[in-house]
């Protein structure tokens, strides 16, 4: 469905380019939920923006992108315009700022339908109402007339979702879609996203910093750290047996309902290194070699890739 090869996104400052995304390659197939997890600054949002062709004006983007077998040229904004909304949809983090405050929410959805499907407004409005009902924006007719500021965060995110999927895109990107929401609403939104993928057999790129959300929703996971994909694995295998020390750190750092995990936290500070492994400065298993040589993403077994010189083994002795 979507294949990304050697994607690089960087920003130039004072003649020096800092890369927010370094040489990332991955793919996602129809009906699959690919989770991307990482901390802030790991480049996960920038990856999504690059795929959507929505990077900031001052960014430098390189690499290849294949969408349903068709190559997309980064230089050609026109090609993207035909894909966005129809073939690719996106849900953002903050539903309050992503809906135009001046229009009733029904109109926002109807507008997209009207534009892409070239159908009359009345028909688009009817379709939007149907979509609202199926997404639980009830009572649909009343909600459609309301303005964003009159709706709760959860309802606004449902509207944003409706606007993103109204033309049934085969690739949906959700960038931290539940971070701004309460946990009960989060569960509802994740259910809707999953249901859409299963019904339409489309692909979902779910970006989140929350391993819990990823564990509950994704089929396959990419772990990103400072612009690099450090691990890629099916979700069950990843959680059962992480290969990269960073993945392990993320999992150990996650507050859990069933036990106290504070004792697991190592307390060494963070140090950045310009050469070698991106995680070397924070890695508790770091060796001298890691500081000198940058590891490559290598395949360990089928479906499992890791970017580490000394991947973890089950007993932890490398």
């Amino acid at each position: 469905m979507l294949e990304v090869k050697n994607l690089q996104v960087g920003f130039e400052e004072a003649g020096k380019i800092t890369w927010a995304v370094k040489n990332s390659s991955f793919s996602v197939s129809a009906g699959e939920i690919l989770g991307i997890v990482g901390e802030s600054g790991s480049g996960k949002s920038m990856t999504a923006m690059a795929i959507m062709g929505l990077w900031p004006a001052d960014a430098i983007v390189r690499g290849q992108l294949y969408f349903q077998g068709r190559k997309i040229d980064f230089a050609q904004h026109k090609a993207w315009q035909e894909l966005r909304g129809v073939m690719m949809g996106m849900v953002f983090q903050d539903p309050t700022s992503t809906l135009n405050p001046l229009y009733p929410v029904g109109q926002t959805v109807a507008e997209a339908l009207c534009y892409h499907k070239k159908i009359p407004l009345e028909e688009a409005k009817r379709k939007a109402l149907k979509l609202f009902t199926s997404l639980g924006i009830l009572p649909a007719a009343t909600r459609a007339q309301q303005y964003p500021h009159q709706l709760s965060g959860g309802l606004k995110q449902r509207v944003a979702l409706a606007a993103a999927i109204c033309c049934k895109p085969s690739l949906l990107i959700a960038d931290e879609p539940t971070t701004a929401l309460d946990v009960t609403v989060q569960a509802q939104i994740l259910n809707l996203l999953t249901a859409y993928v299963r019904e339409e057999n489309s692909a979902l790129l779910l970006i989140s910093h929350d391993l819990g959300v990823i564990a509950q929703t994704a089929d396959r996971v990419l772990v990103m750290c400072r612009g690099v994909i450090v691990e890629e694995a099916p979700v069950i295998k990843l959680f059962k047996h992480p290969l990269h020390p960073y993945t392990q750190l993320l999992m150990n750092s996650l507050p859990r309902l069933d036990r106290n995990v504070l004792h697991n936290i190592e307390k060494n500070g963070t140090a950045a290194s310009s050469v070698g492994c991106v995680f070397a400065g924070r890695c508790q298993y770091c060796r001298e070699f890691c500081l000198l040589e940058e590891p490559a993403l290598k395949t360990i077994t089928e479906n499992r890739k890791v970017c580490c010189h000394f991947p973890l083994t089950k007993g932890r002795s490398s």
Binding site: L54, R84, V86, M88, M90, S97, T98, N100, A164
Partner: protein, 313 residues
């Protein structure tokens, strides 16, 4: 919506009341007798007599104010000391020529500013953007009367292709003649206003273009035109409406200095000549009229805000 409207309306009424008090007090502070002492002014002695009588100086201040206010409400703004004719009549005679100039200047400047402002906002930091920004900064820094003089120097004296002053050549009154006379004052006014407006349009559009909902609209695949006209411009309209509303009174009072430079027979020049002649009834009326126009223009802008933005309702 209604309550917000009522509150704004009441605020406007309070401001209008304040305007009347301030105008009255300022005029009351004006010395009465230097009028007669200054023979240069050549005022009509009977008119001065009537003006002094009307002011009822022997009465307490509050009565003087109320008496004046009641005359104002009856549409009686007094008579000019200079012309010995009703002020309203004099102002009415000059309004058309002012409107001709100001309306065309406003429309032209606003149209250009919106077009250029949007253009440069969509290509921020391009050479065109920088050029327009620098020119507009220079534009708001040029004294318009000096710009007028320089234009007259160039186009009336050095290359005599346009008339320097006035509205029509004596004996001629054709539209073409008026247009020729209008060109230089129009140029001066458009230059200044365009510079002011374009900066607002640019920054208003830029502010909106950075909003997440514009990015989201793009992610929905809407074309750049739809995004601009349906999402950016309606949201950028508010600051533009504010500037437009603040310009509205200028339409009816004329650009005073510009009219003076070009001896354009409009309200603006009338205001200045009356002020220099200390034609108090005129000054008072003009102040009241202008300030009220501004207050009403602000009220209209507020109503427009309410209509555009559902969050304010």
């Amino acid at each position: 919506m209604k309550s917000a409207l009522v509150r704004r309306f009441l605020q406007t009424v309070i401001v209008l009341f304040g305007v009347s008090v301030v105008t009255f007090l300022v005029m009351h502070a004006a010395p009465g007798h230097p009028l007669q002492a200054n023979p240069e002014l050549r005022l009509d002695p009977t008119a001065i007599e009537r003006w002094l009588q009307l002011r009822q100086l022997d009465q307490p201040l509050i009565f003087q104010y109320l008496a004046w206010l009641s005359r104002v409400f009856r549409g009686d703004f007094g008579e000019s000391l200079l012309y010995n004719r009703p002020v309203l009549e004099l102002m009415g005679e000059r309004l058309p020529s002012t409107l001709l100039l100001t309306l065309s200047a406003f429309a032209l400047a606003m149209f250009l500013a919106v077009a250029v402002g949007i253009k440069i906002a969509t290509q921020q930091n391009s050479w065109l953007d920088r050029l327009v920004c620098t020119i507009s900064l220079a534009g708001i820094s040029v004294p318009n009367f000096w710009l007028g003089m320089v234009l007259v120097l160039l186009f009336a004296y050095r290359f005599p292709i346009l008339p320097a002053v006035g509205m029509r050549t004596p004996g001629d009154g054709s539209i073409l003649d008026i247009l020729q006379h209008m060109l230089l004052p129009l140029l001066v006014m458009v230059a200044g206003n365009f510079a002011r407006y374009v900066r607002y349009v640019r920054s208003a559009v830029l502010d909106v273009m950075q909003q997440d909902y514009v990015k989201a609209a793009r992610a929905r695949g809407l074309g750049e035109n739809e995004i601009l006209y349906r999402h950016v411009l309606p949201n950028a309209a508010m600051p533009i409406i504010t500037v437009a509303a603040l310009s509205l009174p200028m339409l009816f009072t004329g650009a005073m200095v510009a009219e003076y430079v070009f001896a354009w027979p409009g309200l603006g020049r009338f205001i200045i000549t009356s002020t220099m002649a200390r034609d108090y009834p005129v000054i008072m009326t003009v102040n009241l009229y202008t300030a009220s126009l501004v207050a009403i223009a602000n009220f209209i802008a507020d109503v427009l805000y309410l209509l555009i933005d559902p969050r304010l309702r």
